[in-house]
């Protein structure tokens, strides 16, 4: 395995609220190697976005309680001063969000904004050079007529083209890591397929390491190398793409995979469903957070299982479930 670009160890992020301490992320660890695509899967409130934002210093505030350790090529991120984190953010680690409309300033032309992003970090680049670079970038992400489009305002582009432009801006400083937070959720499926192919191409051609944050297991199956599944602020299991899909270890993952509607299968009479709703982060059940919704829970589950390697044949796998692995395989059927 190649050396990690990005490392996170036992990251915890809490927010002080009127209702008490809200533990949005409760101990997440991972490494991201060059050229790798890591998917963080979870529902709203699982902590997947807060994890990414915290690495980039975007959750810093007086009511945030951040613990643990995160580094990019040896530079500590959580304690880095604002100037240092700003240099890394955008230049080394770029981010793409779900809604490109809110990421662009509506009153400036696309090209000017991409140029601005470049010139903010590279003082020696002239306006003309920055504009030229913007055209190249728009062209690289597959925007037809980039030469003209560079002068468009954000609202003049379709959703898919705006997301491409957003990715172009993220690539402006040639980062090593791209964090894509639900990059295709707001898009139509035909456009989603194009954006996923674009991300795949960037990953392949530029060796761009990617953290893909999503709730959509279909998107994960199409893109990721490794997967972290999060639930209520904790990682409940992690493994390679195939391990997660073909040998999932946590009942929450079983539930997620089971409830998918699949066009390539006969439709079941009834869609398997996970009962109940995710817990409030201000009022987590003791022990395993998934316990109240889990059809397999037993006494032991009142104690929180650690995220541990439980499969002798797959030392890289981790999960938080007390069930015996052999028993799991039987129950999963």
């Amino acid at each position: 395995m190649s050396e990690a670009l990005l490392s996170v160890r036992d990251l915890r992020v809490g927010f002080v609220t009127e209702g008490g301490l809200l533990q949005a992320v409760d101990g997440i660890s991972f490494d991201l190697a060059a050229g790798e695509v890591l998917a963080i899967v979870g529902e709203s409130g699982s902590g997947k976005s807060v994890t990414a934002q915290t690495m980039l210093g975007l959750t810093r505030s007086t009511n945030a309680r951040i613990e643990g350790w995160a580094s990019y090529r040896g530079t500590e991120l959580l304690e880095a001063d604002d100037a240092a984190i700003r240099d890394i953010r955008g230049e080394r680690i770029a981010m793409v969000f779900q809604d490109p409309m809110t990421s662009f300033n509506p009153v400036y032309r696309i090209g000017a904004q991409i140029g601005e992003a470049i010139r903010a970090h590279r003082r020696d680049v002239s306006k003309d050079e920055a504009r030229e670079r913007a055209v190249e970038l728009l062209d690289a992400v597959g925007i037809p007529g980039a030469e003209r489009r560079v002068d468009s305002y954000p609202h003049e582009l379709s959703g898919g083209m705006r997301q491409r432009a957003m990715i172009a801006m993220a690539l402006a400083l040639d980062p090593e890591v791209l964090i894509a937070d639900e990059p295709t959720t707001a898009l139509d499926v035909t456009v989603q397929a194009q954006i996923l192919r674009l991300l795949e191409r960037l990953n392949r051609e530029r060796g761009l390491a990617t953290i893909l944050i999503t709730h959509d297991l279909g998107v994960v199956a199409e893109t990721a190398d490794r997967v972290l599944v999060m639930y209520a602020g904790r990682v409940v299991e992690q493994g390679t793409l195939d391990e997660i899909f073909y040998d999932p270890q946590h009942p929450y993952t079983w539930g997620l995979l089971g409830s998918l509607t699949r066009l390539d299968r006969e439709r079941p009479e009834r869609l398997p469903q996970i009962e109940g709703t995710p817990p409030s982060l201000l009022d987590l059940p003791p022990g395993c957070s998934f316990r109240p919704r889990c059809p397999h829970e037993f006494e032991k589950c009142s104690e929180l299982p650690g995220l541990e390697a439980r499969l002798p044949e797959a030392p890289g796998r981790r999960d938080r479930c007390w069930l015996d692995p052999a028993d799991k395989r039987e129950r999963r059927q």
Binding site: T190, R197, G218, F245, T261, L263
Partner: protein, 297 residues
């Protein structure tokens, strides 16, 4: 038009509505154009947006018609034009054999009881200042169906039906999760015992673990209450699961219509094929195999 069977008062059992197979809704050559106007003193129509451009379909009692399309395909405008929430430019909408296209708001009012809608965003479609009991009970009260103790009883029954508990009666929408809010929206839509429910993207704003619950709930309610659905969504996987027939919409027209499995397994229209090919396969091996056959760009 046939008279409805007797509905026992206060009971939600509307199985008397059920006469499966017979046409409940018939839409013929429905058009909704929005004029694009420009001009200094007098607005001149310079162009028209053909949101719905000659759409025909029928929905039989007790069945689910799935309406699939991407953003801008005209599916939401079609729903609004069917329900006369926007006046169609031309065409016919027959509900139980009766023409409703172009009916005034007033003339539509008695029909509203039978045609209900469920919306995508359970956050935006519930009045934040009203308690749940009031939200669900308002249709009953406004239509003069029930009041006082009887109203409370019916609301409790509705909440129970959609999987909410009686203690939710006095709470406000913000106290509920997305899935629970969608249940409230469904209870409200059911209050007047409608025959037809148009569900516009009812699960797309919900978390994955909640989607299946709501899909199954709609399924159960259909069986129990003999409901007829038009289920509108961009997600053809979900639509295929719930629908008996699927109509695919593209640029204001229905480009293909047929039994759900047939449309998904042997699509005939080029756009339907594109749509199906774009749906991610939640299975890494099959996704890889498909990428290899399709080839990367």
């Amino acid at each position: 038009m046939t008279a409805d069977g007797p509905i026992s008062k206060g009971s939600l059992d509307v199985s008397a509505h059920r006469r499966d197979g017979e046409v409940l809704l018939e839409v013929h050559d429905l058009v909704k154009h929005f004029p694009v106007k420009r001009g200094l003193l007098f607005d001149r129509e310079v162009d028209r947006i053909r949101a719905v451009d000659g759409v025909s379909f029928t929905v039989n009692r007790g069945e689910t018609l799935g309406l699939v399309g991407e953003s801008g395909s005209g599916k939401s405008t079609l729903c609004r034009a069917v329900l006369q929430l926007t006046r169609p430019t031309s065409g016919s909408v027959r509900f139980e054999g009766r023409e409703i296209a172009g009916l005034s708001r007033r003339a539509m009012r008695p029909l509203r009881r039978q045609l209900q809608m469920i919306f995508q965003d359970p956050y935006a479609s519930l009045n934040p200042r009203k308690r749940i009991g009031q939200i669900v009970g308002d249709p009953l009260r406004l239509q003069g169906v029930a009041s006082g103790g009887e109203l409370r009883r019916q609301v409790r029954e509705l909440l129970d039906r959609v999987g909410l508990s009686p203690e939710h009666h006095d709470r406000f929408p913000h106290e509920f999760s997305g899935g629970q809010r969608q249940r409230i929206g469904i209870a409200r839509a059911l209050a007047l015992r409608p025959k037809l429910i148009l569900a516009d993207e009812p699960v797309s704003a919900l978390d994955v673990s909640i989607r299946a619950q709501i899909v199954n709930l709609l399924d159960d309610l259909q069986d129990e209450l003999g409901l007829t659905y038009v289920f509108v969504a961009h997600d053809i996987g979900v639509v295929r699961h719930v629908a008996d027939r699927i109509a695919v919409m593209h640029e204001g027209r229905i480009v293909e219509e047929g039994p759900a499995d047939r449309v998904c397994e042997q699509p005939r229209d080029a756009y339907t094929k594109t749509l199906l090919a774009a749906v991610p396969i939640p299975d890494p091996r099959e996704a890889r195999a498909r990428r290899q056959t399709v080839g990367s760009d």
